[in-house]
Symmetry: C2
């Protein structure tokens, strides 16, 4: 194995010092001269016609600088561009009607927050209530209220993908299993709320400072909504305090900041309250999953038919790829020759569902894993053995077209099982009301369908400039959202250039300065942006090597860069410093600055990728990742409470660029998985969220976190930068089924829906 000098080291994040010292600047820390505070008036009705908006009283309030409605913005709607058939269905401010409680109706800018709040109360809106629908099955019934025009049965979009002959498969099966699973709402709960500042410049350009995962996508859509060419829009991203999929798209607040700034000539900041965070910035999709699986006597899977009904809420937004992604995750991890996967996203008059860490994988893998354990129990096969028997491996091509070019799935299952003491414990702890369970999952190492596609379909780009003074500036499109993108990119650049990481300055988060990225989503950054960065560094290094080779009278191929030095391999002394090499290159090229460029794209048929959100078929990512998690739980039969004593999580991440950061990602995912499994539940009644606060929405605390073992399974993905694949989203999915299966092992009750509340356990025990 190559011994790297930077890659593979557990360095602290490049911005960790400023963060722990409280000096990092987030959007809400910014104070611009003359800045106003913006607030948004939201619909109190789940479905209503907007007859009239009267802002006359508001305008008279001292300190109010502007009030806007849809008349100030126009009727161009928002969405994400990631489809052949994008569904842009959400206006920044409502046009003729409102579609959920929280829908944006009007916005004000005032000298301070109190005035802005008071201003909202003075806006008078005349609504005419319409019948609303909150259940996706009811929404698909004939005669249900139409939430949007032109969408039959309120279905926003749907993916049906098939391979083999599923009916024939069932006929050939020894036994066919059918069961329904249900997964409810979760919120993102990023610590930093959505925050934006719009600055409409006198030059007609608008700059949006905002907390986003996806600056380039936001630029495109904001330009479109405002009717500007893209060069008139600049996105600048201060530090981002978490996204988890909830900051992956343009929000009405962003458009309001810009429009209010245009109207007032002053910067306008809008920061959402925690209540608005819960209610209006996307949630995960609730799923009803009908699983039907045909197996041979020995447990070999031969047919799988799945139908998912996804509750999409009032708009599409980042929910658009949901149906596709759920079919992807249902087809990724186990070999099944005959499949039929059908996912349907349905509009309801509720808050909008969209991307959330794992994006449909936690839901899909919960159903799939619970189903696997049901099959195992019925056939008398050990659940671990059943998984190992059917697990995909390197070289497999899935029915939906994914090429598995590196795969540590088997190793992950084995290691997770061994770690928890599977053989000693499974089926043997129930006298103590304890049990162990396993969950597993597959995911992708970066979706290749960019939210806005560049001409050559690339998803990442980087540029590195070497300064004559002996250091480098890396211009990266990869947005750091707290996950450590800056650190990973700096490490990759440093490794490739053979310099220490403190010689790298990194510039990100500015669409004027930095090259394109498809966004910090879909676990794309380490692989896609990492490859672009590596290529940019290699490009720059080529120039240095040429100059050094000339001076040393050596061949370029014989040179090596390491520890801030370029030298003949094996002869460390025969060489020159990094700084001297830059000088040398500039001397040889009439002073031309040494700059390297790199882009990355997945080399697949662009048409296939472009259509994938509708067809569900294609090799969507350049690589795939696999994981398994095992839980040991204890169930309190009195209270129904479940305590997770230990969790082992094993994941194939390729080569970890920074192991401690990978562990951090996986522990973070585990935390979200625990929440999803046992506590987090956004309760919505008649379209109204009843617990939009951390007081009532139960995020796991440190006391609910188990003893944790993180096992990094290293594989060598040849296409990846130094072999590094993804890890950010993958650890959420296996947690729910591992816990639910452990509960079954402990007390013999099967829970078919998440989250698992004490009352469900008590009910099932009775």
């Amino acid at each position: 194995m190559t011994e790297y000098s930077v890659v593979g080291k557990s360095l602290h994040k490049v911005d960790s010092l400023e963060k722990v010292a409280g000096k990092a600047v987030y959007t809400n820390d910014m104070k611009l001269s003359g800045m106003l505070t913006g607030k948004i008036l939201r619909s109190p009705y789940p479905h209503a016609k907007v007859l009239n908006i009267d802002t006359s009283r508001t305008k008279k309030l001292q300190g109010v600088k502007a009030v806007i409605t849809s008349k100030d913005i126009g009727n161009r709607k928002m969405g994400v561009a990631a489809s052949n058939r994008p569904i842009w269905d959400q206006p920044a401010l409502c046009l003729d009607k409102v579609r959920y409680i929280g829908d944006e109706v009007a916005s004000v800018a005032a000298v301070d927050e109190d005035t802005a709040m008071e201003a909202l109360e003075l806006i008078r809106v005349d609504y005419k209530e319409l019948p609303a629908v909150f259940d996706p099955f009811e929404a698909m019934e004939p005669g249900a209220p139409a939430i949007h025009d032109g969408f039959e049965r309120n279905i926003s979009n749907q993916v049906l993908t098939e391979s083999g002959d599923v009916e024939q498969g069932f006929r050939e099966s020894y036994q066919v299993f059918e069961h329904r699973y249900e997964i409810k709402y979760q919120a993102h709960c990023a610590m930093e709320p959505h925050s934006s500042i719009g600055v409409w410049g006198l030059d007609g350009r608008v700059t949006l400072y905002t907390s986003t995962q996806n600056p380039y996508n936001l630029r495109s859509i904001l330009a479109y909504v405002l009717g500007l060419p893209e060069e008139k829009v600049r996105l600048v991203i201060p530090k981002v305090g978490g996204g988890f999929g909830g900051k992956a798209e343009l929000f009405p607040m962003d458009v309001c900041c810009a429009a209010l700034s245009r109207k007032t000539g002053r910067p306008v900041k809008i920061v959402l309250s925690r209540e608005e965070e819960f209610g209006t910035t996307r949630v995960s999709h609730p799923f009803i999953v009908d699983m039907k699986t045909g197996v041979k006597r020995d447990g070999t899977l031969i047919a799988k038919q799945v139908k998912c009904i996804m509750d999409g809420g009032a708009y599409s937004g980042s929910g658009l790829p949901g149906p596709f992604l759920s079919t992807l995750f249902l087809g990724i991890d186990y070999k099944v020759p005959n499949i039929s996967l059908n996912s349907i996203r349905v509009y309801t008059n509720k808050t909008v569902a969209g991307a959330r860490r794992g994006y449909t994988a936690p839901q899909a893998h919960f159903a799939e894993n619970m189903h696997m354990d049901m099959i195992a129990a019925e056939l008398g096969i050990d659940p671990v053995e059943l998984r190992l028997k059917n697990a995909v491996a390197t070289g497999y091509k899935t029915g939906t077209g994914m090429d598995i070019t590196s795969c540590g799935f088997t190793e992950a299952i084995e290691k997770a099982a061994n770690c928890i003491g599977w053989k000693e414990k499974h089926g043997k702890l129930n006298k103590m009301d304890k049990g162990v369970g396993i969950g597993s999952g597959g995911s992708l190492s970066g979706g290749s369908r960019a939210a806005n596609i560049t001409p050559a379909n690339y998803t990442a780009a980087a540029m590195i400039k070497l300064h004559t003074e002996g250091f480098a500036t890396l211009y990266s499109g990869a947005q750091d959202i707290g996950q450590g993108a800056d650190t990973v990119m700096a490490m990759i650049a440093a490794e490739e250039l053979g310099i220490s990481i403190d010689k790298i300055q990194i510039v990100t988060g500015d669409t004027d300065l930095c090259p394109y990225s498809a966004g910090s989503a879909s676990q794309r950054i380490t692989f896609h942006s990492g490859m672009a960065t590596k290529r940019a560094a290699a490009d720059a290094k080529t120039h240095l090597f040429e100059a050094v080779a000339k001076r040393l009278e050596a061949r370029v191929d014989d040179l090596e860069a390491r520890d801030n030095r370029i030298y003949v391999k094996g002869s460390y002394d025969k060489g020159m410093t990094f700084r001297e090499a830059i000088w040398a290159s500039q001397e040889d090229n009439k002073g031309k600055e040494v700059v390297g460029h790199g882009i990355w794209r997945h080399e697949v048929d662009p048409a296939e990728i472009k259509a994938i959100f509708e067809t569900g078929k294609g090799n969507y990512a350049p690589a795939y990742i696999f994981s398994a998690g095992t839980a040991e739980v204890k169930v309190d039969r009195e209270t129904g409470r479940v305590k997770v004593d230990k969790f082992c999580f094993a994941m194939d991440v390729g080569k970890p660029i920074n192991p401690v950061m990978v562990e951090g990602q996986l522990e973070g995912g585990l935390h979200m998985g625990i929440g999803l499994s046992l506590g987090e539940d956004l309760i919505i009644e008649n379209g109204m969220i009843l617990n939009p606060s951390f007081l009532n929405y139960h995020l796991p605390t440190v006391f609910e976190m188990p003893e944790t073992d993180i096992i990094i399974v290293e594989t060598d993905e040849p296409k990846a930068p130094f072999g590094a694949k993804a890890c950010g989203e993958g650890s959420v999915a296996p947690v729910g089924p591992a816990i639910a299966n452990a509960i079954f092992d402990a007390v013999g009750v099967k829970i078919d829906s998440l989250p698992i509340k004490p009352e469900s356990i008590l009910k099932a025990l009775k």
Copy 2:
């Protein structure tokens, strides 16, 4: 003549709207979280030993966060790097002694300005006064106090350059003229005072936000003084409110901001008061010029010997190149076969003299022009004719080695004379106490001796990135200091790319982001940075042309870019848009982003240029500029007051990129010239400045400005970007002699020193 689509148009500056609206952010407008206010304790003595500094009482004052002395900074001294023999003689805070009233002794950081001011008063410094010297001649006397160790006769540096045989020339002369001229102090008076914010990051990097003309030079010297590698220093330059040579170097306040931030862990801002501006941020060099000229009967100059004594004040700083530049200007504009030019810079215990707009040209050209008129009067030759007879022209190489490759000097003299009505008025208005006079000058279009020399000796660099969305970001090292560099660079890039200027975003003022520049000084930007920008644009355009040619099945040579379109010359319809061309190029190159790079260097022997500050010989600039100004004045015999009724200024600027901006530069120079001639006089007695305020230092107001005619003389300099040469400094020099000569024409008195005060006129009239 080529018809350009952007170049040659009088567009408003790209940042004019934000400036007139008061929205532009200057350093002092910046408010950083936790920022402290810094203040500097200065010496009350012109020359004294520092025996002890007691800061104990200061530290106890509530709100004081840090007090620093030289012990906190170390003993590395500052200066400019622009020489083979740099003289770095100024510590940021005094070490063993102080050398002028205002010398920096200690610095404090406190929570607000009042506290910082009070803190200064609590610092107790024990001085032992030393004998001081204020006159440069006295300073050169044996036994004068030594201001610095190791400098004989207090001479900081000296240039003696000779060509031909000046003694032989005098012997062959029909007549030899000798006279002494004197020019006194002027201050820069930039509207924005010197302002800096130091931020010592937790990563060990220091960022200095400051108002400077010369970010890269400051980075080098600041890194040196602080003992850091250069990659640990970043300079960020907000808007700059004028420099005029007074913001061309690192100042003690910059080092103090950084050191105070290191000590407190908080940003520290120092903004100088107007009094500190006058007293401690450089002034022009006072000159005593002894001119000796030998001429033929017909007025042909055959020998010139000049000795300049320059009063340098207490340190060298940006004053280092002064002796060289004065010999350059004395040798540039008139053909003289035999010359001996000797300039001596002398230390005195006064405020430091350095670069100021025109940098010794106003002083040198005053003496030279007054001398020309003396010769003309004596020989009975019209002053205009005498100038025309001796003026240099295209193809001339001066005795000091300058190649005049384009020259509109004759045309400038003729046009300035015609404009004022020379033939009708000269010698004919004295009955009304009116008169006309002429002055002239030559200057350089960008010094090629960079303050810090890059490996390949280049003085400018630029990079242009073309965005897939159809616009461009120009990364430019050229610092906009209010003169409009951003606008000129954007126009040059737009012209070369064939796009409108609103498609160009420009990034400047950040040493991490932008490529190198030798600084916004020496009239360097339009030519040097303009060429780098033009080349970067051309480089990017090449990529576009290749892609377009392929698609149109045309030859690259047949293509033209204009009006946001690339098309076959003569067939506007056969082409594609700029945006389409970027897409095309990226499609053809696997998505590779279209980026162009350009650098510029003067193709001369680097050794010659490197030594030029000592030798005075060499082709210092790639081109030279020439001007003539004519004044019509009326003298009030009662009061001695002079009113300038009209001023005509004609200047060879090559091709003006933006004519109205050129006019603005020349009018601005005229304003400074009027000040220099008639009002501005920094009065220093015993080392103490008596009038350090706008109340007593008389800047001309609009009421003292004459009717003005600006005449742009266009020449075609083949090496220059679109033929554009410099203009920024050139208009100061001819003003003084034009006015002084007009006074002679009006009332028959010769004034041999600037500024001309009413009392001098009254005295001369008696």
